[in-house]
Symmetry: C3
Subunit: 199 residues, 3 copies
């Protein structure tokens, strides 16, 4: 199973072409050999409305399973990515953002300054990463072991937790990894259910 990934780079200077982008190649390299393939990428300025529009366009397109953003997560006056992302996602996944910070902290204490968020918009997952190529690599290194399972679950394709539980009850090994999914996918929920506002 392969998943389609879009990368949105937030950078005023790179959007104007004044600086060479090194984040897109870093992302592509880090995903090489995984189940995730970088199929689209865009560089836009640190503008809140523009970020919201770009995220929504990808979510609606149905062309991507995961949107990564790079940049705009700090405290600089133009850093709006988390606020823009929160306007697009319906169900936040704070653990993914915590994981990016915790794993970054192993490299530098400044990683805790990243304000990134993560969450699901419809059946698309969105995860904010800090803006340097190094931080993108480190964040993806931490996320890659769990992203395929996250996407499988979000798309309603994850195997049922109960199966393993039953096996464990029958003498098999308990499935300690069975944290997130626990039900067969349900296809009868209404649109309103899917778009429950986060607050």
């Amino acid at each position: 199973m392969s998943y389609r990934v879009a990368l949105l780079v937030l950078s005023d200077s790179r959007a104007r072409g004044e600086r060479e982008d090194r984040v897109i190649p870093a992302c592509r390299e880090q995903l090489a050999g995984s189940d995730l393939a970088l199929t689209e990428a865009e560089i836009i300025p640190d503008d809140a409305e523009g970020i919201v529009a770009a995220l929504r366009a990808w979510v609606r397109s149905g062309r991507v399973d995961l949107i990564l953003t790079a940049g705009g997560t700090g405290l600089a006056p133009r850093d709006h990515t988390p606020e823009a992302t929160r306007r697009v996602v319906e169900r936040e996944a704070p653990g993914l953002a915590e994981l990016v910070r915790l794993s970054g902290r192993a490299h530098t204490p400044k990683a805790m300054l990243s304000r990134g968020v993560a969450g699901a918009a419809g059946d698309t997952l969105i995860v904010n990463l800090p803006g340097s190529p190094q931080a993108v690599r480190e964040g993806l290194e931490a996320l890659l072991p769990i992203l395929p399972h996250a996407l499988e679950t979000l798309l309603g394709r994850a195997r049922e937790c109960g199966a393993e539980e039953g096996a464990a009850a029958a003498g098999g090994a308990p499935d300690a990894s069975c944290h997130a999914p626990e039900e067969e996918p349900a296809h009868d929920q209404t649109e309103a259910d899917r778009h429950l506002p986060p607050h």
Copy 2:
């Protein structure tokens, strides 16, 4: 001092009786010997409105001090527990949700996919746990050392922090644990104060 605990299991298939529930026994076993007693349990489907109604009914009943939920915290299309819980709590306690994820991470990296939240609704504490019996056990193992103090504080019965501080000033050992409570319980706050909206 003993606290009364209600467990809300979110599971479409178990609510229909198609699968045997193993979460309630796991919870009861894990609480055995602690100051927390499982006094009520219910299994309902993964429906946002139903979850909100069940949580509110227990909060209003005055019969329970702590509500644990199990399930519905992942990214599956029917996972709505965190959003439903956030509609019921007035004061979020993000550290409890972080603790569940961090302790789960010691067993599996997928624990970071749990989107669970925690917080107070009136004088009832609500904590979301993932849905597998194993995850419920691990989450409770991490929470049990601090839940009695959390409930004591929420109910306005915690000893005053200042006492220890004074003892420390007078030559006693400093109370490094004196993190949360710092005031004598106040009984004069208005209903509006108690129900300050989270945003």
Copy 3:
């Protein structure tokens, strides 16, 4: 470069003068020798409206770069500091709150009960700390290595990340610390941009 720090102590009994405050001296001692100078301090009761008013007055005054709060972050009925703070900040910085809890956890598991938040209101950073002198010291010890960089970035004075990236590309050491800032400061954003609501 030196930054101006205000400390807001939330305590019903200390505001009434019934108990001696030991948090202000603890904060001053912990900041000694750093780039942060405690220039103002106030002790007020645990009243949500009063906290909001005090925070806003300091933010608008332009006299302080960082506001620390101490107290009111627990689950006691009168603990409203996180909710009050969230009403004042426009851009939350959850990693700073996570860092305070994680570092406190090394001393006591109860540190995870602190509900503190952090974030930027205009160009002022606000960080909630628990209320005991010991917890204030521990929290500042964890924050001090990154607060100057956080304030430098918030004030739009941080060096550009791209410079280090270029140096790394040219054979220099990669700058693993370049997590938060990635752009030259922009001074042309509108007031509306600066005050983007968090939701």
